[in-house]
Subunit: 341 residues, 2 copies
DNA sequence: ATTAGCACTCTATCAAAGCGAGTGCTAACA
DNA sequence: TGTTAGCACTCGCTTTGATAGAGTGCTAAT
């Protein structure tokens, strides 16, 4: 059996209607709602076919139909209106110099308020970026501060405890040594051989060099378990199908233990090569606890190849068109903020 | 009418029973539960009195009684067993050098898992601490990095954009200028007059000084909206009286917008002078959205006078004794971690 | 002062009944 | 052959009424 034009139209009508109301859709509703001018009986026959094909299903006999995951999938792939007016969403323009996390939190929040869904945003990860600057300074008689700056102005600090005091001149020398050898290198290029060479040159101060390198390594490591911000988790209470205790609890947990969203971020980044915006319907999601939701994600890229992801989490009957539109809109704005520098 | 011994015992029995079951408690239950050897009829009379006095209330006629906020208050103030065995709770010992936020998250989580309530912990705030060190370094042709270190090794970075390049010597001079005048001062002592004087001394570079002072100011400001970590928000779903959509949503929101908990932190810090552990029952809480919960908080103090707070949020019928015990236990452990350095 | 006893109240639970929405099928129709 | 009117049927939701049970307040006896 094939999906002819008419079946598609009916499926579309069912889904549209269900997205709006959240209630199973009956044949009579379709018969009036569409411009097909077909009686409910005809619709019924077609709907029986659609059910057999797996695009819609009945919660129980003598109820209307609701879309299945397969139905939603067809809808977002083929049937969805690609362009639609989207409410203009103003991201408050933040100075680029402002702390990145402020901006991200802000974006997540604006998005949550605008869409009425839960949102997440992962901070751009800086893999492959170059070391820009290292500075050691004494802050106390037996402590020095190591500041590591990576391209993109990511700054990491570490306090190092000294065994024996260092005089100012030595610190200066170490600074020069470190900067001349390391700046401009990517974090990957700083390998053991290079470290050994540096230590050798540092002579009796090789321990300090080792400690600094550990600080650099930690800067990398910390960046690896990436930061994720969320907002609007309470929006899920707006959708009865998600707000029963069991499911709500699961979703809230995931939002609290943000690291559980990592797989979502990874998957989005991988797939973002092929397609800008990614839609996960129900069980398609890489995060188990969201199998009753749909998740729409996009990868964004700031200058200098820093990539992060934005995600919107809602019920399966989310307004995909609006969400996709809003997300595209947001991308543009992020772009413009970071281009106009 | 006064609360004699017997009334107190009955009130205690009602509350104990209600804490366990969460169901209204009837006179017959009390009659058997206690060692008073009184008939249910007598209990009924006494309970009628207790209700008139406002310590207990009936959800509806012909239901048992439940404690009122006033009843709980009396209970925690007077009736509660002060000492009780508490499950030993191991806080994973983290190296002191480890990042503070790791430790805090860990503590919040352990506490949530152990108590089955929602928890929050605020990072210690460093008000009144002294400026230790300021360092300007050039990271780019027109950017300098300002690092501000406050006592307690709190470090803040800011990138400043220059209008005109600065030579190394000038940067060095500025460093000396700033450090000689500012280090050792508390953040409050750095007032406008002092800034003006510095600017004057900096001559043509007064703009830089101004920018650095802004950076310092921002370091303060950022520290002010203090960091709060939460865990176990989903635990509230374990208590039916809190997991209805409306209330749950409100609580979850508060946990997401952690800044809403600030007033709780403030209040705890203020009151911590008089009493170690603070209990807010229902409407007593400074955070409006938790009026249906009880909140138990404590202020902790790490070395160097850094104070933060820990809070446990649960239903009014929370196990106060256990929670208080657990909290005291935790305090001891935190102490020992930070004492043994 | 305490308590046994009783009438009363209120809720929760269950079954029966009716309603309404929706279906599938059949037969008639164009 | 595709469409549609009609009809019997199913199922869930809501209402209703009856019942049981828990608990109370009051009174009268101890």
């Amino acid at each position: 059996m094939q999906l002819d034009e008419r079946k598609l139209k009916i499926l579309q009508a069912v889904i549209r209607n269900y997205l709006e109301t959240g209630e199973p859709v009956g044949s009579r509703t379709i018969s009036k709602y569409t411009d097909l001018n077909l009686s409910s009986a005809t619709i019924r026959n077609e709907m029986a076919d659609l059910e057999e094909l797996g695009y819609i299903l009945q919660p129980h006999t003598s109820a209307g139909r609701i879309p299945s995951d397969k139905g939603y999938r067809l809808y977002v792939d083929e049937l969805m209106q690609k362009e639609r007016e989207v409410d203009e969403m103003k991201v408050m323009l933040l100075e680029k110099e402002e702390k990145m996390d402020q901006l991200l939190k802000q974006v997540a929040k604006v998005l949550a308020v605008n869409t009425n869904y839960a949102t997440m945003i992962s901070a751009p990860s800086y893999q492959g970026n170059k070391l820009k600057f290292i500075q050691l300074s004494r802050v106390d008689v037996n402590q020095i501060l190591a500041v590591v700056v990576v391209e993109g102005n990511i700054i990491k600090n570490n306090i190092l405890n000294l065994e024996a005091p260092l005089d100012d001149e030595t610190i200066l020398k170490l600074n020069i040594l470190l900067n001349t050898h390391l700046s401009g290198l990517t974090l990957e290029e700083i390998n053991l051989g290079m470290i050994a060479k540096l230590k050798q040159q540092a002579g009796i101060h090789s321990k300090i060099v080792g400690d600094v390198m550990d600080a650099v390594a930690e800067a990398i490591r910390e960046e690896e378990d990436l930061q994720i911000y969320t907002s609007g988790a309470n929006n899920i209470f707006k959708y009865p199908e998600l707000s029963n205790g069991e499911k709500a609890s699961e979703i809230i947990s995931t939002f609290e233990e943000k690291q559980l969203l990592t797989s979502l971020v990874q998957d989005t980044l991988e797939k973002s090569q092929e397609k800008g915006i990614q839609i996960y319907i129900g069980a398609e999601t890489p995060v188990q606890s969201m199998k009753d939701c749909s998740v729409v994600t996009a990868a964004y890229e700031l200058e200098e190849g820093m990539k992060g992801t934005i995600g919107i989490i809602g019920p399966k009957r989310m307004d995909y068109e609006k969400v996709v539109g809003t997300l595209q809109n947001l991308m543009k704005q992020l772009d413009s903020i970071y281009k106009k520098t």
